[in-house]
């Protein structure tokens, strides 16, 4: 029986063209792109070609605005710490939300020990920040607003264009963590008006361990890795050329296919959401009905716990991700789910279902069938299900 991967938020399989490009890159024996001789120049040309491919995907003005990183986490660290270090003379206040990825939350926590203050905005029950709250939080000390494009647990999109406009009007830099959006839905840095954008290759069917940070021309950001002058003096260290070539190839295909990819993924998600009520009762959908990633659904299945669901689905040959406290190392409920108003008990039953281009409609149908079976089994074991609503 085919294993169905419905966990395309943690990573994605490599596209065949990406594999091919990386294998060719390995066989080519590229030299160090910083070397001055012919072999180095050849490597530098491959590096710059990938930079152009990535720049095109997000509609950057110039390839130079792309800095390759080791992934989304480094890009977030770079944006936040790099902006803070370079602009501390202008002020020491940053605005963010309480649903950001830990790469943002913990980078900001680090800044606090350097005398920065951070305003962390709450989101509404639908998981969105109000742009007016951003405007209200601005002080003369504010140098940066960092608000994610899409949330990796709920899939909900933030009104980033409006937030960027609020920041721009006050000459404050705007960073957005778009790790889960870039390459999955149309994404235009200029349309959004972002100064800094983090993204990751494995979100769009490229290799893990490589990502990038878009830094709009003219924005002052210090490197967080000190050393050589690679990446236009913004990120020291010899580039991960094979990974970057893979990412470039994935970016080119994403740019070419983006509308079709978006529509296909949304088709699978819509089918799932339409059919779900015919299979299960008492499910809370945490994903915004309109403003959300095309491929992601966060569903809290009440009265049962997510790790149990995940394990049983795995037995059925289906891979999903859960946000249950039990399944995380910390054994704490997700800060994102609590922020959108879920109770601890409901957060426990939360699955993150992320469809991919390798899924089909029959995968969705098989998943729904298995999910119903697994949830029924677990609810029979649960002391909460029959008790609630007087079923017992």
């Amino acid at each position: 029986m085919k294993y169905i991967n419905l966990d395309h938020i943690s990573s994605n399989p490599l596209l065949p063209e990406v594999k091919q490009a990386m294998i060719e890159a390995i066989q080519h024996d590229y030299h160090n792109p910083s070397s001055q001789h012919r072999a180095g120049e050849e490597a530098a040309a491959a590096l710059e070609r990938a930079r152009e491919q990535v720049a095109k995907l997000i509609n950057a003005d110039a390839p130079k605005e792309i800095v390759f990183t080791s992934g989304g986490t480094e890009a977030d660290n770079h944006a936040i710490k790099g902006v803070a270090m370079a602009n501390a003379d202008r002020g020491k206040h940053v605005i963010t939300t309480n649903i950001e990825h830990n790469a943002v939350i913990r980078s900001l926590r680090r800044l606090k020990s350097d005398g920065f203050t951070v305003t962390s905005l709450s989101v509404d029950e639908q998981g969105r920040v109000r742009p007016q709250d951003v405007a209200d939080a601005i002080t003369p000390e504010t140098i940066l607003v960092s608000i994610m494009h899409s949330n990796n647990e709920t899939g909900t999109l933030q009104p980033v264009e409006e937030i960027a406009a609020v920041a721009r009007a006050k000459k404050i830099l705007f960073h957005t963590d778009a790790v889960d959006s870039v390459g999955i839905m149309p994404f235009d840095v200029k349309k959004i008006g972002a100064d800094l954008v983090s993204f990751a290759s494995n979100s769009f069917y490229g290799p893990t361990g490589v990502g990038g940070l878009y830094i709009r021309r003219g924005v002052k950001v210090f490197p967080i890795l000190d050393g050589g002058v690679q990446e236009n003096n913004k990120r020291a260290g010899t580039e991960n050329l094979i990974g970057i070539i893979g990412m470039g190839q994935a970016a080119e295909i994403a740019a070419r296919d983006i509308d079709r990819r978006h529509a296909y993924l949304k088709g699978l998600k819509d089918l799932f959401l339409r059919e779900l009520p015919n299979h299960l009762d008492e499910v809370i959908i945490n994903t915004h009905p309109v403003h959300s990633l095309p491929h992601l659904v966060s569903a809290s299945i009440r009265y049962i716990e997510g790790e149990s669901v995940m394990l049983m689905l795995d037995d059925e040959g289906i891979g999903v991700s859960t946000r249950s406290a039990c399944a995380t190392g910390s054994l704490r409920a997700s800060h994102v789910l609590l922020s959108i108003g879920l109770s601890h008990a409901d957060a426990q039953g939360t699955l993150v279902i992320a469809f991919g281009i390798d899924n089909t409609e029959s995968d969705v149908t098989r998943f729904l069938k298995s999910l119903k079976q697994v949830v029924t089994t677990l609810r029979e074991i649960s002391p909460l299900y029959n008790k609630a609503a007087g079923r017992g």
């Binding site: 716990e305 394990l311 008990a345 002391p383 909460l384 017992g392």
Partner: protein
């Protein structure tokens, strides 16, 4: 896989799931706040565990622990059953992941509470935590209980102070 074969077997095929209508000892531990909730039902005859059933809201190890506990306890005399510890259950399962030892290994506690409940009932003692509901058949009578933590609540409240759960109109 984070769990061993014995744990996975008990998780996949849990033994003694359910409730006992005429249970004469019921014990409950945990709270949805920490992720696990376990109810143990006992039918005690001649000071011996004649039947035992469980219901659990929790992760893979919580379900496996409950199942293993019921297997260990079934048929034991009360004196023997009183000696069963959480550690015994974890050992019978041939080990649990370290981070799960505290949060989900509560089966023996639930059993001990159920035995205590039996003994209290026999002695005619009303339990000190009387406001906690111990007899499930009364749960939807005149009194309202939080469906999540079973603490008695006033009718019509929309929020349980004890477990911080939003209740809406459920009870």
């Amino acid at each position: 896989m984070m769990y061993n074969k014995v744990v996975m077997d008990h998780f996949r095929n849990p033994r003694n799931v359910g409730t006992i209508e005429d249970a004469n000892g019921v014990g409950e531990v945990g709270n949805p706040l920490c992720g696990d909730m376990m109810t143990i039902y006992l039918k005690i005859k001649d000071e011996r565990i004649d039947d035992i059933k469980f219901q659990t809201f929790g992760c893979g190890s919580a379900i496996a622990v409950s199942s293993m506990l019921t297997e260990i306890a079934k048929g034991k005399s009360l004196e023997e059953a009183k000696k069963i510890t959480n550690k015994d259950v974890a050992e019978a399962l041939e080990g649990l992941p370290k981070n799960k030892l505290h949060c989900s290994n509560l089966g023996a506690d639930a059993l001990q509470m159920a035995i205590k409940d039996y003994e209290d009932r026999k002695a005619g003692i009303q339990r000190p935590e009387l406001k906690r509901k111990d007899e499930h058949e009364h749960s939807h009578g005149d009194t309202c209980y939080c469906p999540y933590c079973d603490v008695e609540i006033e009718e019509g409240v929309t929020f349980c102070e004890a477990c911080q759960h939003d209740l809406k109109e459920e009870h």
